[in-house]
Symmetry: C2
Subunit: 192 residues, 2 copies
């Protein structure tokens, strides 16, 4: 394998779930593209890296000052998710009109991820005027722990705290939930 | 989704076998990389596209004047493959010391791919001094047709023409053959 090829294969291998053979296939496919497409691929990576930053309010990715949801949505409800990629499934349901808050992780004391390592402080700082906080972390140990911790912090402030109903199956990941299940889980959300 | 994100997702979707969800996962993973890794990814694409070209003798990819095999191997035996990616499995067997010839396709008259559309002319032009041509196209209709055609052209020149033994299973692809099967197929190759 040539040097340039090895470097490109290594880059593809750094993507989630990509093994050696798949990385080689991807690399060949890039080499087989025309000049313009390869250039666009490289530019798309650099532009995404350069233009996309965290929304200062909710922590979602955005190219603007505020993200599209913080600019236009009802701020009386905040849906708390672990990662930016967890937002898309909610948008697909078409049944949520509030804003989001991205924690960028969940509490995981065994792995040294504590209260100050995720965006909890930022969430607590934006609760003025908020009527409900929906906690939509994954239904696993770390997600549940985070939900309990947040409920303990937020309920004393007189704000309603809800958790998605167990329409989502235990052990699964929100990123991959289908729209119907997630819609059900949204409408059945229960107070903590 | 932001513009930069959509563009990056579109690029990943252009890779073989990558659907919408996988493309989004890849794009997020790129955004989450540090500045330097994203830069290296973009450079790797551009460098591969710029530096890698076809070896003028065999049609394999190379960064040098001649590819690594054409520079150092016994030129009395040529192994004919459809694509550059079909070379790696042979190298892994460790039991082939000849050179290669990459056709960049196989005959497929129904889809308008004829004798002049793949590198057959170039193969016929490099047969001086060659003792054996091993035809290693995929064991499918188009691969078999190409093998027969080549045998018909090359045997009259007094050169031995062989085909990989059917150790490789019919309907499969050489790119994914395991080393043992392919080693067997190499040693059992039979004259056409």
């Amino acid at each position: 394998m040539t040097d340039s090829m090895s470097r490109l294969v290594a880059c593809f291998r750094s993507l989630p779930g990509v093994g050696a053979k798949t990385a080689v296939r991807y690399a060949y496919s890039v080499i087989e593209k025309d000049e313009e497409s390869a250039q666009e691929f490289a530019n798309a990576i650099l532009d995404a890296k350069k233009n996309i930053h965290f929304c200062p309010e909710c922590g979602n990715y955005t190219e603007d000052d505020l993200c599209e949801y913080c600019r236009s949505r009802d701020k009386k409800t905040i849906c708390v998710v672990a990662q930016p990629k967890d937002i898309a499934p909610f948008e697909k349901t078409g049944s949520y009109n509030g804003v989001y808050h991205v924690l960028h992780g969940t509490l995981d004391f065994r792995n040294g991820i504590g209260v100050d390592d995720i965006r909890i402080k930022e969430l607590l700082a934006r609760l003025v005027g908020v009527e409900e906080v929906i906690i939509a972390t994954n239904p696993d140990v770390s997600g549940e722990l985070t939900a309990s911790y947040l409920a303990g912090q937020i309920k004393p402030l007189g704000i309603k705290v809800t958790r998605l109903a167990y329409g989502i199956s235990v052990g699964s990941e929100i990123e991959y939930a289908d729209e119907i299940t997630l819609q059900r889980a949204l409408s059945d959300r229960k107070e903590l």
